[in-house]
């Protein structure tokens, strides 16, 4: 069982948000974008936290439209999670029986689902923000009757236990005898009574021996006995020195983790190791807890939900990169926030969610495999869905139409025809059009798979970027960076990622990615057929020609080298070539020069970039198309 959908409204920076969650979902985005709000939202639905005084809900948790808005007048926070079988029969029957009063069955797919809504609004009568939890039916109406009983909520929570590991993980806390994982693990350990008895005897004996080892110890005890005499009781009490733990539990509670990095190095307590190791150990502690104790404390079929902030904390890039494999294999569902491009490198595209704060509040962008809209049912719709070859799916109870991919022209037209005479025709046609437009953002599995392979190197960084500058190759990459720096728009500083598309796939797919993730982008291509072909391939992905015309520039000359020569940079190019050890470049004619340049693309470009350092005048002489593009970047939206 896991959360498949999360809808949040009016919560902190979130006005309205609807996102799909996978087995593992990775949230990335700038600080303050609302990532923690998303994790907290899940925590609030799945735990009693809102119900508790002190730790509960405050007016700061209500999303406010502007600074004058009154949280008490807000319709309140609403957080909805949906858990649904991936295929019918996935959940064990015992689990369904236990949750029998709150489940819904899709009559068509026979998949079982549960929807839980937590809401919190100001209550005049009690003068406080009052939380409430309600299960909903497939039509998202609240249940009434037996389903409302509190025991159903408790049971649901029992099956979906929630754990939170915040960014600030402290080994001293997490490995204390009272901590959520370690403490409970230690307490659950069973020591056979015979051993317990033996331990007790050994402890007592040990204590005695130690106490006798130095006569001063007995004297200290004698002095301390004054305490009991002052307490003025009829009989003298005693003070004894206990040099070893009293009980075996005491002994266990002091258990600590010791590690050594190399076989012949000394064992050291965890706390004496580096921060990275400490932080990492807590993640593995969670794993140990789930593997050894979860079913004992919860149900056999309980599936943990782990909210994990910045698992990469303090880790070396190499470690951050391999961390993904371990995190992915953690039991249960994981929702992770990260700021590490290295960590993101191995995260599948479909698992990524880009979180951003816009004027509409926190928004989330992703590369979904399907798109849904609420559309009322009509009889004809069933035929269209049936004839769509699994492209379309319709949930009648929820009145939701889902497209698994791109909604093609014919299918779209058929859908419109279904509602040709419907009373709400106009509104429904709008919704269908919206659905079609969104489905254009679809990127198929094959393309994503190709990207997984080719674009691994850059994908960590590009997802954290605010803008994309798409170029053809590495030479452009180097030059654009240098130019921008000298033109006083440092790309790194402004979060612009330059993507050398040829090495990582093709420009079209990056344009599509940028659109899906709402990342503003522009591109500069060569002036030859290939360059113009790129523009066309972008247009083919459903971009309007006018839009492509403003975003994609082409060089006047056929390629970068020809353009540089045409722009009168022959002398500088020759210097650059000479600097990289091509001694006869200085005397080469134009044709030979171009040959040299094309033969040493990256090298000359790197050298030219170095030459540009501190030389704004040189940057100003670089090709117009690049300079114009750089000038456009700040205003790009």
């Amino acid at each position: 069982m896991r959360i498949t959908r999360l809808s949040i409204s009016n919560f902190r920076s979130i006005k309205s948000l609807d996102l799909e969650l996978n087995d593992t979902t990775v949230l990335i985005g700038p600080n303050n974008a609302g990532k923690t709000a998303i994790l907290d939202a899940i925590r609030f639905v799945l735990t009693r936290r809102w119900g508790q005084r002190g730790t509960g809900f405050t007016e700061y948790d209500v999303h406010l439209a502007d600074e004058h808005a009154d949280p008490k007048a807000s319709p309140g926070v609403s957080i909805e999670i949906r858990v649904e079988e991936q295929k019918a029969g996935e959940w064990p029957v015992t689990l369904k029986q236990d949750l029998g009063e709150i489940i819904q069955i899709d009559p068509a797919t026979e998949k079982t689902s549960i929807i839980l809504r937590a809401s919190c609004a100001w209550n005049e009568a009690t003068q406080s923000f009052e939380p409430s939890w309600t299960f909903l039916n497939a039509g998202r109406d609240p249940f009434v009757g037996g389903s409302v009983r509190r025991i159903n909520l408790e049971r649901f929570w029992q099956y979906l236990p929630f754990f939170y590991l915040g960014a600030l993980r402290d080994v001293d806390d997490e490995f204390s005898p009272r901590s959520q994982f370690w403490g409970r693990l230690l307490k659950a350990m069973e020591i056979p009574p015979a051993l317990e008895f033996k331990v007790q005897r050994v402890l007592d004996l040990l204590n005695k021996k130690l106490a006798q080892a130095d006569p001063r110890l007995a004297k200290i005890a004698e002095t301390l006995s004054g305490t009991t005499r002052v307490a003025a009781r009829d009989r003298d009490g005693r003070v004894d020195l206990r040099l070893v733990p009293l009980k075996s539990w005491d002994l266990l509670s002091r258990a600590e983790i010791i590690l050594r990095d190399e076989p012949d190095w000394p064992w050291l307590p965890l706390q004496r190791h580096g921060q990275g190791v400490q932080s990492l150990s807590i993640i593995f502690l969670f794993k140990a807890f789930v593997e050894h104790l979860l079913t004992e404390l919860y149900e056999a079929d309980s599936a943990p939900v782990l909210a994990l902030e910045e698992p990469e904390t303090h880790l070396h890039p190499q470690a951050a990169r391999t961390l993904w494999t371990h995190i992915k294999d953690l039991p249960g569902q994981k929702i992770i926030t990260t700021h590490s491009p290295y960590f993101v490198q191995h995260v599948p595209f479909r698992d990524l969610r880009v979180v951003r704060l816009t004027e509409k509040g926190t928004e989330v962008y992703s590369l979904p495999a399907n798109f849904s809209a609420r559309i009322p049912h009509v009889a004809k719709l069933d035929d269209v869905v049936a004839g769509s070859g699994r492209l379309l799916e319709y949930d009648r109870a929820a009145e939701t139409l889902t497209v698994h991919g791109k909604l093609d022209k014919q299918c779209y037209r058929d859908l419109l025809t279904c509602y040709g005479t419907h009373a709400d025709r106009a509104a429904i046609h709008d919704d269908l059009q919206g659905l079609r437009d969104r489905s254009l953002l679809f990127i198929g599995d094959n393309e994503l798979r190709a990207l997984e392979t080719f674009a691994r190197r850059i994908r960590g960084e590009i997802f954290f970027a605010r803008r994309w500058f798409i170029v053809e190759g590495q030479a452009e990459y180097l030059l654009v960076h240098a130019m921008a720096r000298e033109l006083e728009y440092d790309l790194d500083e402004h979060g612009v990622a330059v993507i050398d598309a040829q090495n990582n796939g093709n420009p079209g797919i990056f344009a599509a990615l940028a659109r899906a993730l709402a990342i503003p982008w522009l591109a500069v291509f060569d002036g030859d057929d290939t360059g113009r072909g790129y523009c066309q391939s972008i247009e083919k992905r459903g971009f309007a020609p006018a839009f492509v015309a403003t975003r994609c520039r082409t060089l006047t000359a056929r390629d970068l080298e020809a353009q540089l020569v045409a722009d009168g940079l022959e002398l500088e190019l020759k210097t650059a070539l000479t600097n990289i050890g091509i001694s006869d470049a200085a005397t080469a004619d134009q044709a030979a020069l171009l040959d040299y340049l094309r033969g040493h693309k990256t090298a000359y470009a790197a050298e030219l970039a170095t030459m540009m350092r501190g030389n704004a005048a040189l940057a100003e002489r670089m090709p117009q198309a690049f300079r114009d593009a750089i000038a456009d970047l700040p205003g790009l939206a």
Binding site: V93, T94, L95, K96, Q97, D98, G100, E101, I103, Q104, I105, D106, P107, A108, E110, T112, A125, N137, A138, G139, D141, P142, F143, V144, G145, G146, S147, V148, R149, R150, I151, R396, A397
Partner: protein, 636 residues
Amino acid sequence: MTDNPLEQALTKLTDIQREAVAWNDGAMLVLAGPGSGKTLVLTCRIARLLDEGRNKSFRVLALTFTNKAADEMKERVANFVPGLEERANIGTFHSFCGQVLRQHGTHLGIKPDFAIYSQDDDRKAVLKDALKRAGMDTQAVRYLSLIDRMKTWLIEPKDAVSCLAGTTDAYEFSQAYLAYEDQLRRLNVLDFNSLIFEAHRLFSNFPAIAGWYRRFYPYWLLDEFQDTNEAQYRLLCAMAGQDFKNVFAVADDDQIIYQWNGASFRQIQRFRADFTPQLIQLPTNYRCPPAIVAAANRLVSYNVQRTEAKKPLIAGKKELKLPEHEHIQLRNFDSDQMEAEEIAKEIAARGKSQWGQTTVLARTRALLERMQKALQVQQVPAVIAQRQDNFLSAEIRWLVACLVEIVRPLDRRNLAVLVDAFNRFAEIQASVDQVLSDAEASGVAYLRAWVEAAKREVGDGSARLKLIEAASRLEPASAMKIADEILKEFASQATGNDSDLAEDLAAWNEISNDIRKHFGRNISLDAFLQQLQLRSKAPSPQPDTVTLMTVHGAKGREFDFVYLIGLAEDVLPSFQSCKKGDGSPEMEEERRNCFVAITRAKESLILSRAESYRGWRKKPSRFLVEMGFCQPQTDA
């Protein structure tokens, strides 16, 4: 011996009872005579299934015909296996269908918070509005009972015309039916018959949901199976699908007394054909003295429409309080008036201590009313027990309407009840239309608009202001607390024990205690109102009160002393059945009525007849002859 209540109960069972309790998978039909311990068998089996499945999560479904029977079974199961009773869903067919529809009705466009209209007035109003809306003649409101029958036969509006082929107004009817159903949906309301009708539709249209219920409830138990009607039986079949057989039905075809409602011994035959159950007979009667058992056997042997090879009852009662000649007695009187007076005197003479364990049974309500008057003359307290769908007093009807208003703030029909009820007891003239238009003009809830209107109407300083003010504070979380305040206020006004208000207050206390007992103290307002809706609003009789019941109402009950009056031809058996003749199904049903009536007695049965009823001379009931208490009279 053990302290475990279930184990104790199991050891006390007879071998044959134990065999039934131990039944696991597969269909089972238990033919259980009156007083044979069928409730014990049912509850022990539920408890045993739960006890043996302690670590499992499945539920057990048990369907009964009355909430009272369900409550009693719940209590027993809770007593047998404390803590596990939550996994037994014991209720009536209607309440079960209600649950199913609240949880899964969305696939039929039914919202979870639908209201249930059980009163004909409400339903007529719905039909009338529906007809107006559809531009039809409101005379068609007469179709309501036909609509009910259609639903009992599970016929949807679209199929009504073909089912009524040959009748001239079939089309007009089907349109009225359709309009009525649309209107119910619009108002988010189901009527009582819709519960089974729609649940059946849900299970047949969406087999996946029926499939789920089979997994959720791997064991079904059916009490009083002989009384299931067509709709209920088909509901079971739809829910069971092709292969599900774990149905444990307890029935007695000699106690079918709801033939008029579609119950039939054929249902038992169908069950045997469809589910091929094993058969266990529980013929031993532990309730009645041997003489009554013998009389019952003689009587019912005249019926032919019953299960073949059905064993006669065996007298199993060991301890008898009274001497043998008091076990069955026959009284003859000249007239029905004399019958009532003399029986009343006899009961009065029994003394107060026996009144609570005394019942007078009759075929018709008219006889009971006469009896009640006669008992009044003798100063013997007596009540006619019957299901009561609504509270009697305007005060409590108003309170219920106020609570409903918070849950369904847009229910105009309920608003009308609220306004009228308050008008009646506060003697004011607030107008429903005025409240409605006030609410619409000012954009406030109906209840708030009514509060303002009522305040104006009662005027400053009125004692009613306290009630209005309390109503104005109602909101879901605190509603039950405020309702208690209002009830206290009413209680201080109720004078004596016999006013409608006093009776309602007693009934309210009883029902709300019952509901809280079975559904928890923190039951939501909505769930509370649903339960309230389903239950009879008649309070339990005061102690030391004689209970007067029709034979139908006596089903499942038992008393030390049972008077069965009116044992004359055209009375019991009824005039209609006599007209149909001796071999008719109607006559057989009357015989079963008599069978049920006499087997209510634990110590003593007094049969009585008069020479004349309503001035007409009547022969002694043929049942007296069949039981062997008098010789057949030939027409003189």
